[in-house]
Amino acid sequence: TDVIIESSVGYFTEGPERKDDIVKAKQEGKELTKEEKQRLRKEKKQQKKSKEKKDDKPSRDSEKEKKPASAASPAPQTPTQPPAQKAPSAAPAPVPVPASETPSAADKPAKSKAELKAERRARQEAERASKGKKGDVGPQAAPGKPKAPPSELQPVVKRLPEHVQVDNPEVLKKLAKKLERQQTPEYNAATKIPLRSDYGYKVSLFSHLHQYSRKAPLTQQLGIPSTVIHPAIVRLGLQYSQGIVAGSNARSVALLHAFKQVIRDYTTPPNEELSRDLVNRLKPYISFLNQCRPLSASMGNAIKYIKKEISNIPSQCKEEEAKRKLLNCIDCYINEKIVLAAKAIAKYSIEKISDGDVILVYGCSSLVNHILCEAFEKNRKFRVIVVDSRPRLEGREALRRLVQKGINCTYVLISAVSYILPEVSKVFLGAHALLANGYVMSRVGTSQIALVAKAFNVPVLVCCETYKFCERVQTDSFVSNELDDPDDLIVTRTGTTQLEHWQEVPSLGLLNLVYDVTPPDFVDLVITDLGMIPCTSVPVVLRVKNVDQ
């Protein structure tokens, strides 16, 4: 670290002009180059270190943790990090830095020191919030890793995000400690968010993922009138883990609905600001929900949005008004990103559906069902083949909805897909998330369908709203996935349950995967609310979104 300081001194002397450029660039909304960003961070660190000598210890410790974090994160030069981190963190950070720089140079009375501290704290919170948002969406999708732990200082190579290292005991210990720390402020250390324990033997390829049993809900370990966690969140967590609310859109809507209840029942404690305290209040809830069922990409984006909205509330805003504003934001978000997006996508898709079409759908995607129902209402003549797979058998629900409308449907299991494909003219697939390298993450079995469709030269259209676009990059289904309850695979036929005692057979493991990734080569078109784009244009959309924000 000494080395870095000395080298940055040189920057510091020619700082002002460069900084002006950078600030100007930011104000004009241009993109920063990587060097400029690194320079900014080094300057920030330098200023922090110089102020450190004048200030007390407690703030220093927290700063120190922030500094290495900000230093470590630019070091690994992955393409996914800069876009996400640039916009949120760079925006609040450098602006107070130049402002506070000049006061720090001269000697001042104690009052401006307090101001400095407050500014620094505000900056840290903003950075923490932004890192938390990035953490929610990026590879660190799960237990909300707000700041990089100190151990990630040194290595330049990006390590696997912590949440997927279930087979590493130290990581688990750290996670347990972090859950302990994430208590609601008014509660003592006596209660904390419990850790849900894994169940059953895990197949070795997926031993880094969590595998929970539906019969052991997290509520077992919580007190009954749950006071640590808001009752709406407990209800939501239960509904997630029991599968009552399933499907990307449904989960996001239910999540935002629960957040609305939380915001309604929230009161700012004295001496706290709503913008900071409410975000902290939401953190343990998100950890809880993550334990009930790993967060989806759409949920992650929704959480990012909410946290941004909350932190952007000006401090002079009264509580009632702030709450009203937030509730309004949530309603707008749902309306725009989910309801209206569905309408737009339906409009685009109907152009692609012609009379006499035979459309193949897989599983139950709320968006695809919506599209087909709309097309049917607009008097397009087509029939649908619903492909289903065990153990979820979601296709039955899709079948029910389509038949209820009056659409002609055929139902097959996925094992018959190559038999039925010669009849099919188009394949419509829903997506759980669209990754930054163009891969489609969807229900397990989707990539199979896309592969077979490609082999038969049948066009594959993926329908996905833009709020499900995610900055993660994945090329295989192993590194990040979800393991469902293995007991779901057990079935009783004619009175006998063969797999009843599967745990006693030492060499047997049951694997119930939930998601898989489809490469962009198999996808012909992605229909989003922004229009119809090829799969490889996803990073462009992400970039455009970030600039807008």
């Binding site: 509520t219 009954i224 009138p225 599968g243 009552i244 209840q261 629900e397 029910r400």
Partner: protein, 454 residues
């Protein structure tokens, strides 16, 4: 706050008057703890911090003097007294405390002894947004001989017929045998929606209910319902399938409410919608989950009112409302809660033979050459020499003179058993005196004033 606990401790114990004519049911000693300690302990273990206790003044007085209640119960007890002789049913009591109820409630009866994992019941209530969630248990056979029972055991009391759906969680039908004189009839609408129904009769209702706040408000308007178990629960179960609640009332809610206020009609509907109802509806719409398959309707058949039941297969669950249940509970409850067999303040002489499953209360005095097997002895009891006590329940403040032989009996508080008495399968009432050298078998010995109360 999520749930408020309400403990109903004003019941009279009408099915065991021999025990309760002097001691209120809620304070009957079971394993040397007052009966209401058990549900309170259950609530405390689950994490409740406050309980509203509905009881009579007498019980309140006894509660404040009982050391067990003061020490062991750490929750805040909000005691509401009601008239004892008034005909107040459990639902009437809820109506009485309507002002205190701010959120959904968990109603427990004071005579419930169980170690159920309450989260099973409450999870049903939460996950399905249910209006009612209750607990039932498979009935256990009572094996102990009941004192004072003449002749063969009476046939089972009026049975309850409980109909559940295939998953065993949704409550479809509930009726008592007494109401089914013409036979059991099930509405076609229920059969259409749930073609497979399991009807069970061997279940014991634990009288533990989770109710939505809207139900309490509904009770406040409908004064005709006076008992939760007898009237409210069957009403809610029936209402699940009634046509009016299934009609979507979301948009017209505001108008309907105004209309009703103007009509002033007595048949107030149970309004189950919540804030942000459209959002909830949207989430349910987009979710690919259904609680049933085979027909064209959406999850829950679009019904807003849902009743769920959790049926315990194993584990103790007793309702102490009859003498047989009381004896059984005394046998098993101390084991459940790992009672210390001998209270530290009891004085027991060395030459006393005590079985391992006997429980001695505080400040007892047990003299030499006594033999105590499988029995519970209450506080401040004096047992003199050469007494044999087997399979019995002895309450507080009893004096047993020398040479007595007590088997399979229940001796109530402050009784005096004269020397050399031989009691087999008897029930000695409160404050009674058994003369020396008496020999009683299978008798209920109570005071003259109690006899008149029939």
């Amino acid at each position: 706050m999520e749930l408020q606990a309400v403990l109903m401790a004003a019941g009279g114990g009408s099915r065991m008057t021999d025990l309760t004519y002097n001691t209120p049911k809620a304070m009957l000693p079971v394993g040397n703890k007052p009966l209401m300690w058990y549900p309170l302990n259950l609530l405390e273990r689950m994490g409740f911090e406050e309980v509203i206790v509905i009881t009579t003044k007498e019980v309140q007085k006894m509660m404040s003097t009982d050391p067990k209640m003061k020490l062991d119960v750490k929750m805040k007890l909000d005691v509401v007294c009601i008239q004892e002789d008034g005909d107040m049913g459990t639902a009437d009591a809820l109506r009485h405390i309507q002002q205190k109820i701010k959120t959904d409630i968990l109603v427990v009866s004071c005579d419930l002894i169980t170690d159920v994992a309450l989260h099973e019941v409450v999870d049903l209530f939460r996950a399905h947004n249910a209006t009612l969630a209750m607990l039932m248990s498979k009935a256990h056979e009572f094996t102990e001989t009941v004192p004072g029972q003449k002749g063969k055991k009476k046939t089972a009391e009026q049975r309850d017929f409980v109909g559940v759906d295939q998953s065993g969680k949704r409550l479809l039908f509930m009726a008592n045998e007494a109401d089914l004189e013409d036979g059991l009839s099930i509405r076609k609408s229920i059969m259409r929606k749930h073609p497979r129904m399991h009807i069970k009769t061997g279940l014991v209702d634990a009288h533990l209910y989770c109710l939505k706040k809207a139900v309490v408000d509904f009770l406040a308007d409908n004064k005709s319902i006076s008992s939760i178990r007898g009237e409210l629960v069957p009403y809610l179960v029936r209402k699940q399938f009634s046509k009016t609640t299934n009609c979507p009332k979301i948009k017209d809610d505001a108008e309907d409410q105004n209309q009703k206020k103007n009509d002033g009609s007595t048949n107030h509907e149970l309004l189950i919608s919540s804030r942000d109802e459209p959002l909830l509806q949207l989430a349910q719409d987009r979710s690919c989950w259904n609680d049933h398959r085979g027909d064209m309707s959406e999850a829950y058949h679009g019904g807003k009112l849902r009743c769920y039941v959790h049926i315990m297969d194993e584990g103790p669950c007793y309702r102490v409302n009859t003498l047989a249940a009381y004896i059984e509970a005394n046998r098993l409850a101390p084991k459940l809660f790992e009672e210390v067999p001998v209270h530290p303040s009891a004085v027991i002489s060395e030459r006393c033979q005590m079985g391992s499953d006997s429980y001695i209360g505080a400040m007892c005095q047990i003299a030499d050459k006594t033999s105590i097997k499988r029995s519970t002895i209450g506080n401040s009891t004096t047992v003199k020499e050469k007494v044999k006590v087997a399979n019995s329940i002895i309450m507080h403040g009893v004096t047993i003179e020398e040479g007595c032989n007590i088997q399979g009996s229940v001796i109530c508080s402050n009784a005096v058993i004269g020397r050399g008495a031989d009691l087999k399968y008897c029930l000695v009432g409160n404050g009674q005196q058994i003369e020396p050298e008496a020999e009683r078998t299978n008798e209920v010995i109570v005071g003259a004033d109690q006899l008149m109360e029939i």
